[in-house]
Subunit: 330 residues, 2 copies
């Protein structure tokens, strides 16, 4: 591998000059610059990132720590983050910490000296604890759960869920079942609160028999829907904690010969690409995940650039009600 020294020697200059050329320093003659560039290309030189970041204390990498990597949600998120990062010359170090406190801590640890900042998506509330014993000046952006003193971006789960349930109520539904997300999952909990809020507002009393717990997978939605079909009096609408479960529910209903939306309305949350193509197309709450990721990256890189004197802010991005055929008639 050619190093900066090789280039310096071959170009007849010092390493400092070569370094300056590569960092666009104005302190080099145009002639020297050209000569060095040419030699560098000829020798196939490219700076050694580790060495560079050791001495400059910048890695030009941001870490993305996710609870999982399964499904379109994370894929979109990464895409959004990458878009912004790449554009600003940053790389992405991705890690999934299967949601256990210890694993998050380990991941955070092992990223020290590897990244300039961290986007942490903590599904369970308080999972950002391990992040605490990073130096206070280390830029961290929390996605989902907020934490005092931390930058964060969250989805307006409660408001979105509330609006969707209000929509169902407006369509005349009274017995509205909900397929909950995993316990301990913050998004899931907030969406449930929105659901409860809408019912309370409308003076509809809750029936615990209509609350079925899933785990955000389509399979769990399938089973949940079957359970809901056995309620009596039977529910007339299902609000699923996310689209994947709603899709599973649609499958169960089709199998059971239950017509959607005539016999049972179904709504989801997330607006994954697939929702447009289910049969019938799924009403849902859209959150532009890629945009969310991009925004997260922007905010984080801001913090990275400032380092000092950076006030942490909390930001909530609203969802948008998308009404499709699956909730269309009363």
């Amino acid at each position: 591998m050619t190093t900066i020294k090789d280039v310096a020697r071959a170009a007849g200059v010092s390493v400092a000059t070569v370094s300056r050329v590569h960092n666009e320093s104005p302190l080099v003659t145009e002639a020297t610059r050209r000569r060095v560039r040419k030699v560098a290309v000829r020798l196939g030189y490219s700076p050694h990132a580790a060495a560079r970041s050791l001495s400059s204390k910048k890695t030009n990498v941001i870490g993305v720590l996710l609870p999982d990597l399964y499904g379109e949600f994370y894929s979109e998120l990464i895409r959004g983050v990458d878009q912004c990062a790449q554009q600003r010359g940053f790389h992405l170090l991705v890690a999934s910490s299967h949601n256990e406190r210890a694993e998050i801590a380990a991941a955070v640890q092992s990223m020290r000296g590897r990244v300039d900042g961290l986007i942490v998506m903590s599904p369970a509330p308080g999972a950002h604890r391990p992040v605490k014993d990073l130096p206070a000046t280390f830029p961290v952006l929390l996605l989902g759960a907020a934490g005092a003193g931390f930058d964060s971006i969250a989805i307006a789960n409660e408001a979105g869920a509330r609006e969707m349930v209000q929509h169902l109520i407006a369509k005349g539904h009274r017995r509205i079942a909900m397929i909950l997300g995993p316990r301990e999952n913050q998004d899931a909990a907030e969406r449930f609160e929105g659901y409860q809020g809408a019912l309370a507002e409308a003076g509809i009393e809750e029936d615990a028999a209509l609350h079925v717990t899933g785990d955000f997978t389509d399979t769990s939605g399938y089973h949940a829907a079957r359970a809901i079909l056995n309620t009596s009096p039977r529910a007339t609408a299902i609000f699923a904690g996310n689209d994947a479960m709603a899709v599973g529910a649609l499958g169960a209903l089709r199998e059971a010969g239950v017509r959607v939306p005539e016999d049972m309305a179904v709504a989801g949350f997330d607006d994954i690409p697939m929702s447009r193509y289910t049969h019938p197309p799924l009403s849902t709450v859209r959150v532009d995940i890629a945009a969310l990721g991009e925004r997260a990256a922007v905010r984080l890189l801001e913090a990275v650039a400032n380092h000092r004197r950076h006030r942490a802010r909390r930001e909530v991005v609203p969802g948008q009600l998308i009404i499709r055929a699956s909730t269309d008639s009363p």
Copy 2:
């Protein structure tokens, strides 16, 4: 930030000893080891990755270079790679190079000194060229396109497509349209070859009017299907170059009141999660993407471990025909 020196001083040993403790060297007394560990924890020390990799010439990171990040394919791939990598203590540096030769080159360049090995997915044949001027010993695994002297893993596109078209022919179809993937995309080209092969075998002559080009997005599939509806005599089956386009096609057919599979059979390729839930469920060729990614990581890490004396191999993973309702009747 605490460095190894701080720990050494506080523990009353030399930096070498601290380093040895962290690297599980057997050359330390149990007593010293414990003492150092304790101090390290107390000071919140964790080794600086850049420094470590500068001197040890190992980064414990593998790079994943993808043409894009949109859609479940890449998400699954990353998941598979991460699973293996994480388990072996490696991190993942993800980058998308929007498919242009120059960008790939830039990405490869900027990864020098950052990663121990590279998984490169090159959609266009020959896109691995920029990889060439890495030192010959640098571990690279090509995904998709093969290259002489490179390790590679590819999907059996041609065989899979051929089998699917054979299936359609067996169902009695003669006028089978194909929605092609982007020109220049290797997977797309191979799938087209499989299609042509199956037709030729069956003695069916090709009709260029039945070849519509898309770009692997559902939207392009939608438009392609509309074009296909206007062919005359009208095709009775559509083989889409991937599932996303097949899904788009299904949308167009539903809009046009064309029944699937009675009036028009539809098949795809990839078996994305959504295929199970379309209406009707989509026949497709399954490729276990996550497994593919995992396999890629295994192969790459093997090469990383060996470094020298590593024979490059080419590996092809077969697809599996998944017949669902969308191609069920003649």
